[in-house]
Amino acid sequence: MMPLAAHDHESGIRENPGSHTHDHGGTSDATVDMVTTLAGTVLPNPVLTASGCAAAGRELAPFLDPAALGAVVTKSVLLRPRSGRATPRMAETPSGMLNSIGLQGPGIDAFLEHDLPWLAARGARAVVSIAGGSVEEFAELARRLAGAPGLALLEVNISCPNVASRGQVFACDPLAAADVVRAVKAESGVPVLAKLSPDVTDIVAIAGSCVEAGADGLSMINTLLGMVIDTDTFRPVLAGVTGGLSGPAIRPVAVRCVWQVHAALPGVPILGMGGILSGLDALQFLLAGASAVSVGTAVFHDPSAPVRVLAELRTELARRGITRLSDVVGAAHREPHR
């Protein structure tokens, strides 16, 4: 099995990880090299915020230093200001939540004037998420962002379920996804990540299509399309009827997606996300093949979650005798060395 004794093989359920020993050459936290490279961009550590779960960083400043994270992934920006949907926009679900915000945001002009400079002034690296209704809109956003100070990467949101097409998004069609990626790559001065939806028959096919079109890396996963019905009113809870499911409920789906894509495309950098609440959750994504992770819905539970997850990840790596974070990326795919 694994090179490190971490499982209770008798029960198959690991109820109390704290009672297990990880003393295989355990080292101190400070000696773990947390540097990672994501799509050719060197980041001081692998823990990022997630698009839509950190606004543009400023609201989290009372709780964490945005420069202390690997990067801040901003809420998807569109060309024009966008109101978002009517309320209710949220429904709590078991170990998760549905959201149906509808990409509310100030538009690219205000973003470039206020939001990105704020992040740059604080020394934070920005992964700017862009979203649009057409290939041309995505390309125009990439053009507007080219050369902006603080911009480290673009994340192309071709998979937000809260759009008029109700989940029939670019990321459900390999050709449409490739068209967007190709157009953004032609305009972007920074590496481009394509954000993929798990709501597809074969995520590896979509991933391959995006990479062929020039994507420097992949972000996965976006939310799953879901729905809750109010049993008193007999009506959908969300004003938008359907919403995106996030949180720990989707974590196994996300780890599976990262695993499958890394297995098929081992050279493609992955930003992994989906229900990460702890350092050990983050480690699962790294082991599956992600070079970095985004902490999203956990921020609603704990505004300081990204820095906490980073600290926990560092500790857990040290406990396992790992001195370089890059050594664990994709390690779950490798044959055990007994």
Binding site: E59, L60, P81, S83, T87, Q104, G133, P248, V299
Partner: protein, 277 residues
């Protein structure tokens, strides 16, 4: 940050929870709220629950909230035992605006929505204002703070829909008698949205400024999730979908588009961009 439950007592239909939370108590203003994680360390309930501060005492470090049980999160909270650690974030949100000069204020609370008004009344009295309170609810057990009201206000009107205590009727029924003759300089209200709308419209008809603390469902409480929005008219005349957690919960009642709450009015900034995608 971690707070500790000091006591948890029934108060009519509600529970009054006292927390040792010095960092919250130190900077809190009336109208602000806390967001509490519920369900303990291994909870499957990810979203925080927001509660207006009923009291916040910097000297003792104690804060108090009023909780009504209406879901799995509040069901857990009303049963939480003294000594239990509770993860709270706060104080959050924009508080009520205190006037620069003393005046006469009417404070209107519906149900446990009255909770933030008592500290507000104390502040207003401390600067020399006269305070009249209207405290109402559907029935006697759903009133909150009527005894407090008598200690912090110059006059108190209690209303219940069923007439079980005080005057039968709605809180707004008491307003003409207060707003008509007395030279009232401000109305402050907290309670259900329909009540806030009615109080705001009544205050407007008497040309009295009115601030309300709204109750919108929130996921994060800190301004990142964009869940708790409502349509509000800005100083520039444009309507926007505004976050009640950081741009509120206290709003000028005249700027909230009450009849459009829960909808997307076509003239709201950015509504035109919702077509197509």
């Amino acid at each position: 940050m971690s707070a500790r439950v000091v006591s948890n007592e029934p108060a009519g239909a509600y529970h009054l929870i006292t927390l040792d939370a010095p960092a919250v108590a130190a900077g809190a203003e009336p109208g602000q709220f806390i967001a509490a994680a519920v369900g303990g360390p291994q909870t499957a309930l990810l979203l925080r629950r927001s509660f207006a501060l009923y009291t916040a005492d910097p000297a003792t470090g104690l804060i108090q909230i009023v909780v009504a049980e209406h879901g799995p999160g509040t069901a857990w909270l009303v049963r939480v035992r003294p000594g239990t650690p509770l993860d709270v974030v706060g104080p959050l949100g924009r508080p009520f605006t205190l006037p620069a000069e003393p005046g006469t204020a009417v404070l209107v609370g519906g149900g446990y929505g009255s909770a933030p008004l008592f500290d507000l009344a104390r502040r207003l009295r401390a600067i020399g204002s006269t305070v009249h309170m209207v405290v109402g609810a559907g029935s006697a057990e759903r009133l909150f703070g009527t005894a407090d009201a008598r200690t912090v206000a110059d006059s108190v009107v209690v209303t219940t829909d069923d007439g079980s205590v005080g005057v039968r009727g709605l809180v707004t029924d008491a307003l003409p008698g207060l707003l008509g003759p007395r030279g009232v300089s401000a109305v402050y209200a907290c309670g259900p949205m329909a009540m806030l709308r009615a109080v705001g419209e009544t205050a407007a008809s008497y040309d009295v400024p009115c601030e309300v603390a709204v109750e919108e469902s929130m996921a994060c409480g800190i301004g990142v999730c964009m869940t708790c929005v409502l349509p509000v008219v800005g100083v520039d005349g444009r309507s926007r979908m505004v976050r009640s957690c950081i741009e509120g919960p206290v709003f000028d009642a005249g700027r909230v588009r009450w009849k459009d709450v829960g909808t997307l009015p076509v003239d709201v900034l950015g509504a035109d961009a919702m077509d197509g995608h």
